[in-house]
């Protein structure tokens, strides 16, 4: 292969570029990114990054040409500062030099011309290529309805900068829509900043599909234990605005560079059950969808992600995928660790021209909320039983194991990293036998999970 093009310049894209060089690919390496930023780390965006007061003064928003933007390590976006970009950067200058990649940033790929072996860019450019790594990740779902200032999603650095500016402008009423991990972390950080926070969750309890009822209950109590209201079992009917235009407070996250008329500012959230919650800021955390729109006209099979085999190889041998956008067999993970592990496997198969390696590590995820660390690993099935093997919710520290037919399928820990890691490694080694329950450990009844 003479040219390989990586589409998506974030975690999986960078790890793919690294893997290509590490595995001896010395041809032309092109990385295409829709965002103007060099690869940066997303998990801090809902955690310390959001909590930290906007740091150094914003860089002067000078007029830079698009070609300059391609070569800049950081952008001149409104309030993305040097320290922001440095704090989150996934690589450094030395590594960038070693990778010797061409970074085409700030322009999304718009299509794949498989007959002509090229990636098409939205700005009309055409990158002729022998191999493609798809690493376009996922995009937040949004609520229907007209745009409102003060309503945020949280996926990109620009999203986080806009939300952070609002939160640090003063204690506010925040409504978080969706009680998943992103919503939970955002709620935790907002509460830490002194905001009055309400989470609205459509399901009877957040995270039940991921954790099962008993452990989901443990997580829900983290919110209520820290003064955050959790309203479950009700959807959102509308985001209300009293009609005033937005002054100069933040914006609605319009794509940078576009001039938008200020949308009216959100003032409240109307729930399906008729209640009205006042709100200065609304954070919408209702999940993501894989960023596959640009592939709609391609011959690739798309079903909640790009369909791949366990080695990340798509229906086309010269096209592989990794990270949040990729469905490996039955599973599409939305986890940091998968996005760092899959690229090496996918690249190996791309260079080999066939599937010679598979990604088999169990999914692993962590989340930090209210000063507690949650970790989850494995493949929990809906019928698995769960039992607390160590600690208890009351202690604020526990290890729970999920089991099916006497075998451990998954592990959950709250502030219990050491035994969790042991279990996670055994899950990776395959088929761990269930450890005996310590005396006095509460055992959940079978069927305690939905």
């Amino acid at each position: 292969m003479r040219t390989v093009t990586v589409v998506g310049a974030s975690l999986a894209g960078l790890y793919a570029a690294r893997a290509l060089r590490a595995q001896g690919f010395d041809g032309r390496l092109v990385v295409i990114g829709a965002e103007r930023h060099r690869p940066y780390d997303r998990p801090p965006l809902s955690k310390d990054f959001l909590a930290r007061a906007p740091g150094a003064p914003a860089m002067a928003a000078g007029a830079r040409s698009p070609s300059d933007a391609d070569t800049l390590a950081l952008s001149d976006a409104d309030a993305v500062t040097l320290s922001d970009a440095e704090a989150l950067s996934l690589s450094d200058a030395d590594e960038d030099a070693e990778l010797a990649a061409e970074w085409l940033l700030g322009t999304p790929a718009a299509g794949l011309d498989t007959a002509g072996r090229a990636v098409l860019l939205a700005d009309g450019r055409r990158i002729t290529t022998d191999g493609v790594v798809i690493a376009t990740g996922a995009t937040p779902r949004t609520l229907p309805g007209p745009p409102r200032a003060g309503v945020h999603t949280l996926r990109t650095l620009d999203d986080a900068v806009a939300l952070r500016a609002e939160l640090h402008a003063g204690a506010r009423k925040v409504v978080v829509i969706g009680g998943g991990f992103i919503g939970a972390e955002a709620a935790s950080t907002c509460a830490e900043l002194g905001a009055d926070v309400t989470i609205v969750e459509a399901a009877p309890l957040p995270l039940v599909p991921q954790l099962g009822r008993e452990i989901a209950q443990v997580c829900a109590r983290l919110h209520t234990g820290h003064g955050v209201r959790l309203l479950c079992g009700t959807g959102v009917k509308a985001l209300r605005a009293d009609g005033r235009g937005d002054g100069d407070r933040g914006d609605s996250g319009a794509p940078p560079g576009t001039t938008t008329r200020r949308a009216p500012r959100v003032t409240g959230v109307e729930l399906a059950d008729g209640r009205l919650l006042g709100a200065d800021t609304v954070i919408v955390g209702i999940g993501v969808r894989p960023a596959t729109d640009w592939l709609a006209a391609s011959p690739l099979a798309l079903r909640d992600g790009v369909l791949c085999d366990q080695g990340g190889v798509t229906a086309l041998r010269q096209v592989v995928a990794a990270g949040d956008v990729a469905r490996y067999g039955e599973l599409r993970a939305e986890h940091w660790t998968s996005a760092t592990e899959q690229p090496a496997v996918a690249v190996r198969n791309l260079l080999a021209g066939t599937t010679v390696a598979r990604h088999t590590a169990p999914p692993y995820f962590w989340s930090d909320q209210y000063g507690s660390r949650i970790q989850l690993a494995g493949h929990r099935g809906p019928k698995d039983t769960v039992r607390i093997a160590e600690g208890s919710p009351e202690e604020g520290s526990l290890l729970a194991v999920y089991e099916r037919d006497g075998e451990i399928t998954a592990a959950f820990a709250l502030n219990r990293p050491r035994p969790f890691t042991r279990l996670r490694r055994r899950l990776g080694a395959g088929r761990p036998a269930a450890p005996a329950a310590p005396a006095g450990a509460p055992a959940a009844a079978p069927g305690a999970t939905p």
Binding site: T337, P417, R418, T421, R425
Partner: protein
């Protein structure tokens, strides 16, 4: 020299975290491969305690994102960590483990 614990209280394969004072970052002490090692407890990548990590030979794997550090040098062996953790001198005096915290290096000027 800061006393840690008695050698019999830190069996092979175990690790312990010690806090000295507000000005000194916490230190993790490991007993592995027949030797004692001490490194800064906080991973150089993000916020995780290496004393909670997985120890194999003279390496510790961070419990959060699995960066691997060489306990002899503090150097990261793999990503996502790119910077080393500091190492500290360990000694055993009359069956008691002690560490001598490294003199803080000049903080990198931002």
């Amino acid at each position: 020299m800061i006393p840690v614990c008695r050698i019999e209280d830190l069996p092979e394969g175990e690790s312990v975290r010690i806090e000295i004072d507000d000005a000194t970052p916490a230190i993790a002490v490991f007993h592995t491969d027949g030797a004692l090692y001490a490194v800064d407890d906080t991973c150089s990548h993000q916020d995780a305690s290496l004393s909670e990590g997985w120890v194999e030979g003279c390496f510790v794997e961070c419990p959060l994102h699995a960066a691997l550090f060489d306990l002899r040098t503090g150097a990261p062996v793999c990503l996502p960590a790119r910077r080393p953790v500091r190492t500290h001198e360990v000694s055993v005096v009359d069956g008691m483990i002690h560490v001598r915290p490294a003199v803080p290096e000049e903080e990198a000027v931002a």
